[in-house]
Symmetry: C2
Subunit: 332 residues, 2 copies
């Protein structure tokens, strides 16, 4: 675009819209519940340093990253005070060049070796607390911490993501699974030591009372999957789409599965039933008639893979575009 659009009416669709008030509400609500370093916002959810700067302004100076590029981009944006790469890396050479305090998750002798090989200084021991993904067995955490220290690494503590719990709608079940997971993490921490007990996500930001920092990301913008949990955060991210075709009984808008993460299912449209998505289309049954050229909001089921498809987000107040943010941490 040659000139910056001032109104969403001038934006090419599909386009990501961030509701400025909703975002600010979410940031303030989380900062009140989890002030300062008790939240380590996960940038994987939004992949946007402009949004991370807002989180920093809300008091959080430590961040969680999932990829090397997220770490690099955060450092370039000056958000380099304390970056945790909460993921295992076999080739850590790129981290050695990052101008930031970087702490790397390790869960094996190999990943400890990868960290030591490139002169990284700090690690956390990643512990499997129930999600079958990365992380060592709790009973192996102490041994790995010793290995890391023997390689000259400072072990800042433990992390363990209760990803099998964060999305469960029933709060009691979610809380119980979180407790079981965190007892494993505390067991590991007792062997490992260190200042950090890092865990959690948006779904467990308040019921996880064991971790001393929560790696929540989705809370800032939310999505329809997390909305079902009854959390005090507002859906602040939508996709603006244009109706391009109207037939008897259904209509089609120009927002398809290349503009949406589909792993949590179809998106939602207010006052409409979504039938299916194609590459560049969503077919839906509107409750009230729509016309070609009408614009509507599509609510993604999962924001993380949705945002990763987009180059930019438009921060809006009603129809007015306040800012345009680059999604600058995409890729790997």
């Amino acid at each position: 675009m040659s000139t910056r659009p001032r109104s969403i009416q001038d934006v090419q669709t599909p386009a990501l819209l961030v509701d400025a008030a909703g975002l600010e509400y979410n940031l303030a609500t989380m900062a009140a519940a989890r002030p300062g370093p008790s939240l380590r916002p996960h940038v994987k959810a939004h992949k946007c340093t402009a949004l991370a700067l807002r989180q920093a302004a809300a008091g959080h100076r430590r961040f969680t990253c999932a990829t090397l590029r997220e770490v690099e981009g955060m450092a370039v944006a000056g958000l380099n005070e304390d970056l945790l790469l909460a993921n295992e890396v076999v080739d850590a050479r790129r981290l050695a060049a990052v101008q930031a305090r970087v702490t790397l998750a390790v869960d094996s002798a190999d990943t400890i070796a990868a960290a030591a090989a490139v002169g990284l200084r700090e690690v956390v021991i990643d512990v499997n607390v129930g999600l079958p993904r990365c992380g060592c067995r709790p009973e192996d955490a102490g041994r790995l911490a010793e290995q890391a220290r023997a390689r000259g690494l400072s072990v800042r503590g433990v992390m363990g993501y209760e990803g099998h719990a964060v999305g469960i709608e029933d709060r009691d079940t979610r809380t119980r699974l979180t407790e079981e997971a965190m007892l494993l993490l505390m067991l590991a921490h007792a062997q490992v030591g260190g200042e950090l007990i890092s865990a959690g996500g948006t779904g467990t930001y308040d019921c996880n009372v064991w971790a001393n920092e929560i790696q929540a990301g989705s809370y800032a913008l939310m999505d329809t999957a997390y909305a079902r949990l009854g959390l005090p955060f507002r859906q602040a991210l939508s996709l603006l789409a244009t109706v391009i075709s109207v037939s008897s009984g259904y209509a089609v808008a120009d927002c398809g599965l290349k503009a949406l993460g589909m792993d949590h299912g179809n998106p939602s449209i207010n006052d409409a039933q979504v039938l299916f998505c194609s590459d560049e289309h969503v077919t839906f049954v509107p409750a009230q008639p729509v016309r070609v050229g009408d614009r509507l909001r599509v609510w993604p089921a999962h924001i993380d893979p949705t945002i990763a498809y987009h180059e930019r987000m438009h921060v809006v107040e009603g129809e007015q575009i306040l800012e345009i943010w680059r999604v600058d941490l995409r890729g790997w």
Copy 2:
């Protein structure tokens, strides 16, 4: 990357790999079955002008696009002889600036008006042949063609995508549904006239004997969903991933749902069972033990939304990287 990697061993994962021999085989096989203008390759599948240039070299000079950016990028790459934007557009201003022969799909008075308003010259009437998406009713096609001609537009013919048929595994059922759909399209064409009867996809490239050009895209690289149809094309696109964590009973590689379109389900890994994908991980059960640092190929279930996540594709012959292609038609 400062220096261009020569071997896939030097590539950062996750990384898209195009098997050069498989691609060439697929292009040659299709060009033999559907030579020259009887195929109008759909660039939405790969979003890569370097690959489109190979399709042009195989004899296809007319292309199908799904987005304004695809049209713009193809024109910039010099592949501007005959571009069909097989999608409805409400605001066609950007097309007016494209240096190419552009034909636009229309299915309503509004989209005809949008084409005429910016001085486009050529359209096709998009006909609904059974997939509940865009396209007018067959019986309305003639009337719309008259409207378009009255607005000074040249109507080149009809298009109608049998998207409800292309993915059906049973060939007889696929053929029958295609025939039913194409009878509707021929009905529309009888009213509309024009040189083009444009339809089809990879799944119906040979059983659709009614259309005079087939809009196939996936055939060039294929995916696990299309592989089930028993077509004579090879899976030529994989994701290179690195094992980053090994636990008792499963392992994790660094290729997750932000590197994969998930609308057709989980990807596949040879000699392994894929359990699930997270944002940056795939958890799988390998038949043989794997080690941290091992590299493996992940086969996407649906290439179109997979490629749209990536900046580049590595064209390989075994371990050797022959070329690196930009995925330059991403976005909108």
